[in-house]
C-alpha cells in the first residue's frame, strides 16, 4: 500500500533512491522511537514545562508592570522544589520575542516583574496576603496547593492518574486583568467561575 511508503510518491520512479531513502527513513524513525521511549519526565519537569506553556496562552493587561521588562519572567515564590529543573526547561525559550527566565522571589512585592508566579506550598499560610498583593497586578498565579482556585488563585495543578492536569478560575484571572485563551480552557480539567456577589 502506498500509504505506508510515501517516499515512493515523493521520489517518483527513482527506485534505488527510494530504497535508500526508505532505509534511511526506517533508521531515523526507529531512532525517533528510541527518543520517544526516553524515561518519562518527572512531575517537576512536566510542571516546569506547563509553567512556560501557560505563558503562551495568556494575554496580559496593557498596564501590567511586567510588560515593561526586557525578559519574560517566571517566578517561584517560597520554597523552590524545582531546583535547576525550571532553569533547564526554560533555557533558550522565548515568548513574544522575549527570553524566558526563571526567578526566585521571597516576597509578594517582588512579583510585579513576573508574568507567571508559582506559589509554593510552603507559602500556604500567607496565601491570602500574597494574592491580595498580586491579585490585580496582572500576574498569572499558579500553585499546586489544594483548593487554590477556590481561594483566589488562577491555575491549580492537580493529578489525574499519572498525568498532571490543571484547573482554572476564570473570575480570578479576569480580576487580575488576564485573558486566558480558549485553547487553554479547552484542556483545563475544570473551569471555575466565582458566584457574582449579589448576582
Amino acid at each position: 500500500m502506498n500509504l505506508s511508503s510515501p517516499a515512493r510518491s515523493l521520489f517518483g520512479s527513482r527506485r534505488r533512491l527510494l530504497a535508500l531513502s526508505a532505509a534511511a527513513a526506517g533508521v531515523l524513525f526507529s531512532l525517533s522511537c528510541l527518543h520517544a521511549q526516553e524515561p518519562k519526565p518527572t512531575e517537576h519537569q512536566v510542571k516546569a514545562t506547563y509553567l512556560y506553556n501557560f505563558g503562551q496562552f495568556v494575554r496580559w493587561p496593557r498596564n501590567a508592570s511586567a510588560l515593561q521588562s526586557d525578559s519574560f519572567s517566571i517566578c517561584v515564590l517560597g520554597q523552590d522544589s524545582f531546583h535547576s529543573i525550571l532553569d533547564a526547561a526554560l533555557h533558550g525559550e522565548t515568548i513574544d520575542g522575549k527570553s524566558v527566565v526563571a526567578r526566585r522571589i521571597s516576597t509578594p512585592q517582588e512579583a510585579a516583574i513576573c508574568r507567571v508566579l508559582f506559589i509554593s506550598s510552603s507559602e500556604e499560610h500567607q496565601l491570602k496576603e500574597i494574592l491580595e498583593a498580586v491579585g490585580q497586578a496582572g500576574v498569572l498565579t499558579v500553585s499546586d496547593m489544594p483548593y487554590f482556585t477556590q481561594r483566589g488563585g488562577m491555575i491549580q495543578f492537580t493529578r489525574e492518574g499519572n498525568r498532571i492536569r490543571f484547573a482554572v478560575n476564570l473570575t480570578n484571572a479576569e480580576v487580575g486583568g488576564l485573558i486566558l485563551s480558549s485553547e487553554l480552557l479547552k484542556v483545563a480539567i475544570t473551569v471555575r467561575r466565582n458566584p457574582q456577589p449579589g448576582g
Binding site: M1, A7, S21, F29, A36, T49, L184
Partner: protein, 482 residues
C-alpha cells in the same frame, strides 16, 4: 412526387454541422473535465491542508498540556467532513497522540514513515489522498497532523461531470440538430428544388417549368436564375423549331398534293389524248387501205404511192401512240420486285433482236450470271430498248459489237450496254432521255423518241439511276443501276 435521394445534400449538411458541433463539444468537455480533475486535485490538497492546519492549531494546547482526550475531541469535529477517512495527531517525536477513524473508534493509526526532517507531504494512492502537516506554534514544531481522505468525492464528481457532460452533449446535439436542420434548409431547399425541376425537365421534356428562386441573392439564386434562363432559351428555340417544322410539313403536303393532282391530270390527259387519237387514225388507215384496194384501177402509180405514204405515216403514228400509252401506263402500274438473271434476259432479248435482220454481222458479248432485283417485265422493256437502240445505231456499220456487262457507280452495282455505232454528241447527252427528243433524223434511224424516256422512267421507279456516255461515230454506253 420525386423522392429525395438517400444521401441528399440536406442530410449531408445536417450531419456535417452535427459532426462539427459534436467534435467541438466533445473536445471542450474533455478539456474541461481534465482541467477540473487537475484543479480539483489541487483544491482537495488545499482543502485537506487547511483542515490539517485548523486541526493543528486547535490541538496545540492539547499536545502542549498532554491532553489526548482534548485532541480526540478536536479530531471528532472531522465527522462533519465525510471525505476524511482517518486523522491522527502526533508528537514531534512521531508518537501517536490522538487518532480518529470515521465510523470506528480506538484503532491505531501509524504514521507513514517519513524522512525525519520532512514534515510536509501529500500523496495520492489507492483511492485515497494522504497528507502530513507539521504544526508550528510560537516558531516551534509542536505536532504533526496526518489526514487520510478518500477520493470517492472526486470520483463522484467525475461521474457527475461525465453525466452532466453526456446530458449537455445530448442536449447540444439535439439543439444543433434542430438548428442545423432548420438553417441548412436555406441552402439545400433551393438546390433540391432545382434538382427536382431539372429532373422534371429531363423526364417530361417539359421546358415550360421554372425553378423557384430562393429569397436571398446568393450563388444558388444565380444558379437558379441561369437555369431558368437556359430553360427559357430552350423553350423558345423548341417552339421556333416546332413551328418551322410544322409549316414545312404543311408546305410539303401542299406541294405534294398539288404535284400529285397535276401529275394525275397530265397522265389522264395524255392517256385520253392517246386513246382518242387512235379512232381517227384507224379511219384514215382503213379508208386509205380501202382506196388502194377498191380504187387501184382508177389511181395512177403516183396516187397509189401517196396513199401508201399516208398509210405508213398513220402506222408510224399508231406505234407512237402505243408507246405513249405504255409510257403513261408505266407510271400507274405497281412494281413487283424479284431476283432475276439479267444475263439470261439480255441473251434472250439479243436473240429476238438478231432475228429482225439475221444477215447483219453483229457480235453480242454478254457477261454471265449477272443477277438483279426488279420487275421482270419492266426490266425486259429496259433491255429491249437498250439492246434495240444498240442494234439500230450500229446498222450503218458493216460490222458491230454490242456488249452487256456490270460496272460500278460510286460503290453501287451498275450495268451497262455498249455499242460501237453512231454514238452521239456528248453536249446533248442531257436531252437523250426526254420524250420525243431525238438526236438523229428519223430518216437516218427510225424511232419515236420514246424508248429512252421509257427506260429512264422504269429505272427511276426502281429507285435507280441511268446515264449515258458517248461521242459521234465512237459508239455509246448506257449505264444503269437499280
Amino acid at each position: 412526387m420525386l423522392r429525395v435521394p438517400d444521401s441528399s445534400i440536406s442530410r449531408r449538411l445536417t450531419w456535417m454541422n452535427m459532426l462539427v458541433s459534436g467534435v467541438a463539444l466533445l473536445l471542450s468537455c474533455a478539456a474541461f473535465v481534465a482541467y477540473d480533475r487537475v484543479s480539483f486535485r489541487q483544491t482537495m490538497v488545499q482543502d485537506l491542508s487547511i483542515q490539517a492546519q485548523m486541526i493543528g492549531s486547535t490541538s496545540v494546547s492539547a499536545v502542549l498540556f498532554d491532553d489526548p482526550r482534548a485532541g480526540e475531541e478536536t479530531l471528532a469535529a472531522l465527522q462533519a467532513a465525510p471525505n476524511v477517512l482517518a486523522a491522527g495527531i502526533y508528537t514531534p517525536q512521531r508518537r501517536l497522540f490522538a487518532a480518529y477513524w470515521r465510523g470506528a473508534r480506538g484503532r491505531d493509526l501509524p504514521l507513514p514513515s517519513l524522512p525525519l526532517r520532512q514534515t510536509q507531504a501529500h500523496w495520492f494512492g489507492d483511492g485515497e489522498l494522504a497528507l502530513v502537516r507539521s504544526v508550528i506554534f510560537e516558531g516551534k514544531p509542536v505536532a504533526l497532523v496526518y489526514l487520510r481522505s478518500d477520493l470517492s468525492q472526486m470520483n463522484a464528481r467525475s461521474r457527475r461531470y461525465a453525466e452532466i457532460g453526456a446530458a449537455v452533449l445530448l442536449a447540444s446535439l439535439s439543439a444543433a440538430f434542430l438548428i442545423s436542420w432548420s438553417s441548412q434548409r436555406a441552402i439545400s431547399k433551393p438546390l433540391v428544388q432545382l434538382a427536382q425541376t431539372a429532373r422534371i425537365v429531363s423526364r417530361d421534356k417539359n421546358y415550360s417549368v421554372r425553378a423557384t428562386p430562393p429569397g436571398n441573392r446568393d450563388e444558388i439564386a444565380l444558379l437558379v436564375d441561369s437555369f431558368n434562363e437556359m430553360l427559357a432559351q430552350i423553350q423558345s428555340r423548341d417552339g421556333a423549331l416546332r413551328m418551322a417544322h410544322d409549316s414545312l410539313e404543311l408546305r410539303v403536303q401542299q406541294r405534294t398534293a398539288e404535284l400529285t393532282a397535276s401529275n394525275n391530270e397530265l397522265e389522264a390527259f395524255s392517256y385520253s389524248v392517246s386513246h382518242d387519237l387512235r379512232a381517227p387514225l384507224r379511219s384514215i388507215d382503213g379508208f386509205s387501205q380501202a382506196l388502194l384496194e377498191d380504187y387501184s384501177a382508177k389511181l395512177d402509180a403516183g396516187g397509189q404511192d401517196h396513199l401508201r405514204r399516208v398509210r405508213a405515216a398513220t402506222q408510224r403514228m399508231s406505234v407512237l401512240i402505243d408507246d405513249l400509252l405504255n409510257l403513261s401506263r408505266l407510271s400507274r402500274s405497281a412494281i413487283r420486285r424479284e431476283t432475276l438473271d439479267l444475263s439470261a434476259l439480255a441473251a434472250a432479248v439479243a436473240e429476238d433482236v438478231r432475228k429482225s435482220d439475221p444477215a447483219r454481222r453483229v457480235e453480242f458479248i454478254i457477261a454471265k450470271d449477272l443477277a438483279a432485283e426488279g420487275d421482270p417485265q419492266l426490266l425486259r422493256v429496259v433491255m429491249e430498248n437498250l439492246l434495240g437502240n444498240a442494234w439500230k445505231y450500229t446498222s450503218s456499220h458493216p460490222q458491230a459489237r454490242i456488249e452487256f456487262g456490270a460496272s460500278q457507280d460510286n460503290g453501287r452495282r451498275a450495268f451497262f450496254v455498249r455499242d460501237d455505232g453512231a454514238g452521239f454528241d456528248p453536249r446533248y447527252a442531257g436531252r437523250l432521255f426526254g420524250a420525243f427528243q431525238r438526236l438523229h433524223a428519223a430518216t437516218e434511224f427510225p424511232g419515236t423518241g420514246i424508248g429512252l424516256a421509257t427506260v429512264q422512267r422504269i429505272i427511276h421507279r426502281h429507285g435507280g439511276k441511268v446515264w449515258a456516255e458517248g461521242a459521234v461515230e465512237k459508239g455509246a454506253t448506257f449505264h444503269f443501276s437499280l
